[in-house]
């Protein structure tokens, strides 16, 4: 570099710009960081209160210092919430709801993801006559509030004689899961070269063989995304479980509500908090473990739609 141009590039402070650009902390950046910190605190404070309360004894809770750390931490409320808390007349804890939710969740997720994958595969590659119209109706269904369907679906279920059974709630979850899983898989398969499908056809593979041996093995990312969405969605469901699961299969969310609303005398806040965290644990765990995949799934649905 020649001397005049070096002078030209000299900054006011007499420093020659070279290497990495220095980081500057402006007022705007500080404001941004403060805002983010406050937002995080706003969201996290309730969780903090719940966790500390669940670890306190009732004597300590009565003191009213809700932000204080537990003086003598105890897991008794957690055990009580899990195995002895009362839901209405029975006192077997939230565990009944947990296992009910698992029983609802597993088949619902498996069938809704599989059905969505098959739907998406058929829509993306086979394109039957009227498939676009079908897909439009499917998406339209996703936008209508679920309450609208409640009464007709109860009537239909009763007519079929399955109302209030495990197959009933599973079927309902699969049906309501179809639009989103179909959309996910259709968009994923739209990104797969159609030539792959053609090559498989030339090789003599039919509808199911192409699906199971060619397409499904390469769908791991979107299967994970669909599972995350369905697991969290179905686990958090309240109204469908309340209406369709039947007395014997009420999911954890409904049981939690029963635990919290069943009061004789003093409210055992510590048990309620523990039961709530237990109920939220599954989706929370899913989010923590799979945050990366979850974001990818949302992006896939948003950008490629």
């Amino acid at each position: 570099m020649t001397a005049p141009s070096a002078t030209l590039h000299r900054s006011a402070a007499g420093v020659v710009p070279r290497g990495a650009r220095p980081k500057t902390l402006t007022a705007g950046r500080i404001g941004l960081i403060v805002f983010l910190a406050v937002s995080a605190a706003y969201v996290l404070t309730p969780l903090y209160v719940m966790v500390v309360t669940s670890l306190k004894t009732m004597e300590e809770i009565r003191l009213g210092a809700i932000f204080a750390l537990p003086a003598a931490p105890t897991v008794e409320p957690w055990i009580a919430a899990w195995s002895t808390a009362c839901t209405g007349l029975t006192c077997e804890g939230i565990q009944v709801g947990f296992w009910n939710s698992v029983a609802i969740l597993v088949p619902s997720v498996v069938f809704s993801v599989l059905a969505g994958a098959i739907n998406g595969y058929a829509l993306a590659f086979w394109r039957p006559r009227g498939s676009n119209l079908l897909f439009a109706f499917l998406l339209l269904g996703a936008f209508i509030p679920v309450q609208v369907f409640l009464y007709p679906l109860v009537r239909i279920s009763a007519l079929l004689g399955v109302y209030g059974t495990l197959p009933n709630i599973v079927a309902i979850h699969v049906i309501f899961g179809l639009p989103i899983t179909t959309l996910l898989f259709r968009n994923y398969y739209a990104g797969v070269p159609i030539e792959l499908f053609k090559a498989a056809r030339v090789d003599g593979a039919g509808f199911w063989r192409i699906f199971f041996q060619v397409m499904l093995p390469m769908s791991t990312p979107i299967v994970i995304v669909a599972c995350i969405l369905q697991v969290t969605g179905i686990w958090n469901d309240f109204i469908l479980g309340l209406v369709f699961a039947g007395r014997e299969n009420l999911p954890m969310t409904v049981q939690l509500n029963n635990v919290v609303n069943t009061t004789t005398g003093e409210r055992p806040y510590n048990i309620h908090m523990a039961a709530t965290i237990l109920t939220a644990a599954v989706p929370l765990l899913v989010y923590f473990v799979s945050g990366r995949w979850f974001v990818r799934g949302i992006a896939a649905g948003a950008v490629k739609g």
Binding site: P193, E195, K198, A199, R201, D203, R209, P217
Partner: protein, 380 residues
């Protein structure tokens, strides 16, 4: 059509033995949009036919229709003497190679190649033997256990060719197989495909938009545009006697120059006082010697003339132009000159010392020129 092979005889009931692929009055339409209409083409057994044309000319559509991967609206497709119009792709006796390789990502090279054979429930020993033979032929033996993701682009396309090979079929269909490869690999694999054709002798139908691939590989080229076959002929004939202005302009690099003018008997008036006699030009019959026309001259058919050179040979015409641009290409250079206000390109030796603005004297070889109707573009 200028077919030299006796294959363009339309037959209704049975196809002759020497015809391998026969497309008859093919029509493909989506609603009101007609992509192909009344298209007929016959490919001889063992012939290498290239479908050449720009994007959207219908060449891939035609290939997909032959493969059975696309629903046709009307017409028939015959392969190896069988009417396969309604047959599934797997039952047509074809192997196909795609532009994007289309390998099954979760299968190894060997599994990719044997997929179709396993579906057809061939004996294990037979499958192994066929995969082995194809792998040897394509130098894939050390790669058989790998996944497609672990292969280079050239290797992937060789696997795709191998997958077509193991099917032991009469007809191979290639859909722009080299378009995703870089220039070096493309020419290597092009030679491999040519060798393969020479050693196997299968019928091959090959879609490309690359004129070099078409010229080097084809026994015959079908130049397509707008769903219509513009010309179906051997490469040399396509190159030297293009049936119309589109074919003339599509093949050749640098491209053919078109000089527009008016026909006055056996001469064309280019305006600006320049008239080129056409005595050496072979007119198509019936001759049309009036009206607006375009004279097509390939850059290599214009020769620079040194001062004091002997008089021109019959059929050649001398003229003078001005150099407007010089493009060196290494082996030679392309001179852009101006003649009667129209650009004309000349292929000149690389060591020629010339500058922009220089006048050059050159000789047009009219025995190798092409003359087109200015309106219809048809060869005159």
């Amino acid at each position: 059509m200028h077919a030299t092979l006796p294959t363009s005889v339309p037959l209704r009931s049975t196809a002759p033995v020497e015809t391998s692929v026969s497309v008859r009055d093919l029509k493909i339409a989506y609603g009101s949009l007609t992509v192909l209409d009344k298209l007929s083409i016959d490919v001889a057994k063992g012939e290498f036919l290239v479908l050449l044309g720009p994007s959207g000319c219908g060449k891939s559509t035609l290939l997909n229709a032959i493969a059975g991967l696309m629903d046709i609206t009307d017409g028939e497709v015959w392969i190896s003497g069988r009417n396969v119009t309604w047959a599934e792709p797997k039952d047509r006796g074809i192997g196909m190679v795609f532009q994007s390789y289309a390998l099954y990502p979760r299968m190894t090279v060997a599994e990719n190649m044997s997929f179709g054979l396993r579906i057809a429930r061939l004996p294990k020993a037979e499958i192994a033997a066929r995969v082995d033979r194809a792998a040897k032929l394509l130098h894939l033996t050390p790669l058989l256990k790998r996944r497609p993701a672990e292969l280079s682009g050239g290797q992937r396309q060789r696997v795709a060719i191998g997958r077509a090979l193991v099917r032991a079929v009469d007809v191979f269909l290639f859909d722009e197989p080299l378009s995703n490869l870089d220039a070096q690999l493309r020419s290597e694999l092009r030679i491999e495909i040519k060798k393969l054709h020479q050693s196997l002798g299968n019928t091959m139908v090959y879609v490309t938009h690359d004129q070099i691939e078409a010229m080097t590989l084809a026994d015959r080229i079908a130049v397509m545009k707008g769903g219509v076959v513009q010309q179906l002929a051997p490469p040399q004939e396509i190159y030297s006697r293009p049936a119309n202005r589109f074919v003339a302009g599509f093949l050749g690099s640098p491209a053919m120059t078109f000089l527009s003018g008016t026909l006055r008997g056996r001469a064309i008036d280019l305006g600006g006082g320049v008239t080129v006699p056409l005595d050496g030009y072979a007119f198509a019959s019936p001759e049309r010697l009036t009206g607006a026309a375009e004279l097509g001259v390939r850059p290599e058919h214009v020769a620079l003339v040194a001062p004091g050179a002997p008089p021109p040979s019959p059929g050649a015409h001398r003229a003078t132009g001005t150099v407007t641009m010089i493009e060196p290409t290494g082996a030679d250079m392309t001179l852009w000159t101006d003649i009667a206000g129209q650009p004309l390109t000349i292929r000149a030796p690389a060591d020629l010392s010339v500058a922009v603005g220089d006048p050059v004297r050159f000789s047009l070889d009219l025995t190798r020129a092409s003359l087109f109707d200015a309106e219809t573009g048809a060869r005159l």
